[in-house]
Each structure stands twice: as structure tokens, then as C-alpha cells.
């Protein structure tokens, strides 16, 4: 039996309303915090003020609406813990996104460039870069994103390679954390954690289970959970009502579509 003639544009409007109405009239739904988000939070809590972490923005602008809140929550936590942050990116668009986010949060929290944070910029060949960081950060990045000699930045005094980096966090919308685990984690033993888009969660849960990843936060829900742990309200928390409503809309469409399909099959 053919489905009732429902123009696809009507479905688009339905979905848009499912997203927009909860944004306009928020309810304030709050879920519980998952085990993996708590683990990530504890991981950052366990680091000492002054410890250096490397954050790699391995994502594209397309997924920033989902990944951005995860990155923001993690960096906020790191800055509150007075961790020193070195940023880089192995995907071109992540370079600008990461720089923008880090500089904005650094300004808000009074962090000074070169001492509390530094941004190394883009490297096109991630395998070579991940392995190169294990040999010498300065050799791999002679200049930072702003084209200053990396050697001149105080943050790198005493930080030569992964040996002095306490944690690598890959903010990713694709497989990059896998390569971090394979090359940086496997060869140099540096702990790797990941902030992921939700679609990659099932890909990386095996790595968390085998302890090749030491932390994992995923999707807008993960960002909302992290914000809850930090006691802040951000894009993750704000999005939960709309996320819930849109999910329910999709589920209703699946159920209705299948109900009509089976009714048609029984009749014929």
C-alpha cells in the first residue's frame, strides 16, 4: 500500500518545528551523567595545575555545532584546573575553529598566550606529525600558528615531546583518535582521550574498553553531561529539550511509516 501522499517539505517543516519549539519554549530536561563522561571529568581533575596537555582539533566546521560544545566544556575545565594547553589540528578547518575557541576562552579566563597556552596550527600529514611530536615538538613545529618561533614561547621550556605531555585530547568528528591511539599512544605511550561526535561513539567504545583511550565524551548529550559536572549551562544543556523532541519526532515517523506499511501488506 502506498504511503499517504505527504510532501517531503511537510516532513521538513515537522522536523524544524520539533527542533525550534523546544528552543523557543524550553522545558529544561536534564539527564543523568554517563560513566564515560564522569571518567573523562575525573581524568582532568587528576591532573595538576601547570601540567601540559595537547588538544588536537581534528574536526571540520560541518560538525562544529555538535563538537564545539564538547570542546568548550573540556577546555573550560582544563583552564579552571590551570592546566597549560597546547593546541594543534590535523584537519584544516579545525585549525581556525580551535584557534578561535582557545583564544576566546583564554581571554575570558585571563590566560596568557605563550605561557598558559599556545597554538601550533595545522599539519597536513597526521601520521608524520603524530610521530614527529614524539621526537621533538619544536622540530615538528618550528613556528606556531601566528608564525612566531615556537622555541621562544615559555610554555615549551621543559616540554620537548610527549614525555612532558600528560594527556592528548583529540576533538574529532571522524577517525583521527584511532590514529592517535595507533601512532602516538602505541609507539610513545602518551595517554589519549577523545571528544567525539555521537556518530563515532560505537567506533571508539572498544578503545575505551581496552584502555587504549583513557577518556571519551561524545555528542551534544556528552557536552550537556560535562556542563552538568562543571555546573555551567552551555549549548549542550540548552539543546537537550530540542534533541529529545526531534528524536521523538523521528521515532514517530518510523513507527507511523511502518504501521501503514504493515497494514497495507495485511490488506493485500
Amino acid at each position: 500500500m502506498k504511503l499517504p501522499a505527504l510532501d517531503r517539505r511537510a516532513l521538513y517543516v515537522l522536523l524544524f518545528l520539533a527542533v525550534a519549539l523546544p528552543l523557543l519554549f524550553p522545558i529544561g530536561l536534564v539527564g543523568s551523567v554517563s560513566k564515560s563522561t564522569r571518567q573523562f571529568h575525573r581524568l582532568i581533575e587528576s591532573l595538576q595545575p601547570g601540567d601540559v596537555i595537547l588538544i588536537s582539533f581534528d574536526c571540520e566546521a560541518a560538525s562544529w555545532a555538535e563538537i564545539g560544545p564538547v570542546a568548550r566544556a573540556v577546555i573550560l575545565h582544563a583552564m579552571k584546573r590551570d592546566l597549560r594547553i597546547v593546541g594543534t589540528s590535523f584537519l584544516s578547518e579545525g585549525t581556525a575553529l580551535g584557534y578561535r575557541l582557545l583564544s576566546e576562552l583564554a581571554t575570558e579566563h585571563g590566560k596568557s598566550y605563550g605561557e598558559d597556552w599556545a597554538y601550533l596550527g595545522f599539519r597536513p600529514q597526521y601520521v608524520a606529525a603524530m610521530l614527529g611530536l614524539g621526537e621533538s615538538i619544536i622540530r615538528e613545529y618550528p613556528k606556531d600558528y601566528l608564525e612566531q618561533p615556537a622555541e621562544s614561547l615559555p610554555i615549551f621550556a621543559g616540554v620537548q615531546s610527549y614525555r612532558q605531555i600528560k594527556l592528548v585530547i583529540s576533538i574529532a568528528d571522524d577517525s583521527m583518535p584511532q590514529y592517535w591511539v595507533e601512532y602516538a599512544g602505541g609507539r610513545h605511550g602518551v595517554p589519549i582521550a577523545a571528544g567525539l561526535s555521537a556518530v563515532m561513539l560505537t567506533t571508539f567504545t572498544p578503545y575505551l574498553d581496552s584502555h587504549q583511550l583513557v577518556g571519551l565524551v561524545s555528542g551534544l548529550k556528552g557536552a550537556a553531561e560535562y556542563e552538568q559536572l562543571l555546573g555551567v549551562t552551555g549549548a549542550g544543556t540548552r539543546g537537550m529539550d530540542a534533541q529529545s523532541s526531534a528524536h521523538l519526532a523521528i521515532i514517530v515517523l518510523v513507527v507511523v511509516g511502518n504501521a501503514i506499511y504493515f497494514r497495507g501488506r495485511r490488506k493485500s
Binding site: G121, T202, A235, R238
Partner: protein, 198 residues
């Protein structure tokens, strides 16, 4: 974001969304602008982050290894020439060979031995059994050179179910991800641009 910037972003967003009604010149124009900007962005970032600090600057400082790097760059660019294009295979061979050599120990450790070790735990429980069964039956499913008969067929079928659970979970998360992307744009249009969100 300044007011003009917000309006420009909003109009670009609506231009792309016009595709939902139907394909139209406004959407196509926005699409081409996006593609041009993306390529320009990539070129700038690549030149400034890699070619200048690792080839140009050391070469102008007289570092002999920089000239080797410059030669490799020029060899890559011979690809644009129909007769000399085969020379680009030389730097490609370097990257391909090096990549293959570096990947073997990395993959064996990260994807094979570590994952195999994680199948069993010191204190096995029900979940360990379910997990081990899943790994074995999934590997059996992908063993296509053996005919699917008897016990092997049953084992591979169980592997299919595990794969359906994996794909189902991935599918659910994919929908979640896509909706998050729409959420982001909706928040921008309704909040940042129109200013009607609470």
C-alpha cells in the same frame, strides 16, 4: 559577531536551506562560494603552516636539507605536466612506502593484539562471554572463503545479529548527530539572528 556579520551568515544559511524547497540558482551560487572559500582556506593554511616554515624559510637560511624538500615539492607538481607527470611517482613512493612501513607495527599493536587481549578479562562474567561470542562470530561472518554450511552457517548468522546491533546503535547515534547539527543552525537563526530565543 557584529551585526553585519550575523546578517551575512544568516543569509548564507538561508541560501543553502533554499535547497530544501528545490534546487535553485541561489543555492548553487552559495555552494560555489563555499567550495571556493574552502579551497582557498586550505591552500593558505597549508602554505603558511608547512611550506613556508619547513621549506621556504630554511632554504633562504641556506639549510641544504631544505633544498631536498623543495625538490620533492617540485617533483610532486610535475603531475600537472602530461609528459613529466611520472616524476610525481617518486615523492609519492616515499609517502606510500613510509606510510606502509610505519603502519604495520602500529596496526598490529593497536587493532589486533590490544583488541584481542581486551576480549577476555581477569574476572570473566556474563558480559565477557557475550563479548567473546560476538568477536568470534563476527570474525566468522567475515570469513567469506568458506562455504556457509552446517555449524559454520549458524555461527556466522549469530555474527550477523551482532553486526545488526552494532549498525543499529551506530544508526541511532548518526541520527542523533545530524539532529545536533540542525539544532546548531536553528539556535543561530532563531537566537543570534532573530533574537527570539529566551
Amino acid at each position: 559577531m557584529s551585526e553585519p556579520a550575523i546578517w551575512i551568515s544568516a543569509l548564507c544559511t538561508l541560501a543553502i536551506y533554499s535547497f530544501l524547497y528545490r534546487d535553485n540558482p541561489v543555492y548553487r551560487a552559495a555552494e560555489q562560494i563555499l567550495v571556493g572559500l574552502s579551497v582557498g582556506y586550505l591552500v593558505v593554511i597549508t602554505v603558511r603552516s608547512t611550506l613556508i616554515p619547513r621549506v621556504w624559510t630554511p632554504a633562504t637560511d641556506g639549510n641544504p636539507w631544505a633544498f631536498v624538500a623543495a625538490a620533492l615539492v617540485l617533483l610532486m607538481w610535475t603531475r600537472l605536466h602530461p609528459k613529466a607527470g611520472w616524476l610525481s611517482r617518486l615523492p609519492l613512493a616515499l609517502v606510500v612506502g613510509a606510510g606502509a612501513g610505519l603502519s604495520i607495527p602500529a596496526l598490529l599493536k593497536a587493532r589486533v593484539t590490544s583488541q584481542m587481549a581486551a576480549v577476555l578479562t581477569p574476572t570473566p562474567d556474563f558480559n565477557t562471554f557475550v563479548g567473546a561470542l560476538g568477536v568470534i562470530t563476527t570474525l566468522a561472518y567475515f570469513h567469506f572463503t568458506r562455504p556457509r554450511t552446517g555449524v559454520f552457517d549458524g555461527v556466522a548468522r549469530v555474527g550477523t545479529w551482532y553486526l545488526m546491533i552494532f549498525f543499529g546503535a551506530t544508526f541511532g547515534f548518526t541520527i542523533m548527530s545530524r539532529i545536533s547539527l540542525l539544532l546548531g543552525r536553528s539556535e543561530f537563526l532563531l537566537g543570534t539572528w532573530l533574537g527570539i530565543l529566551p
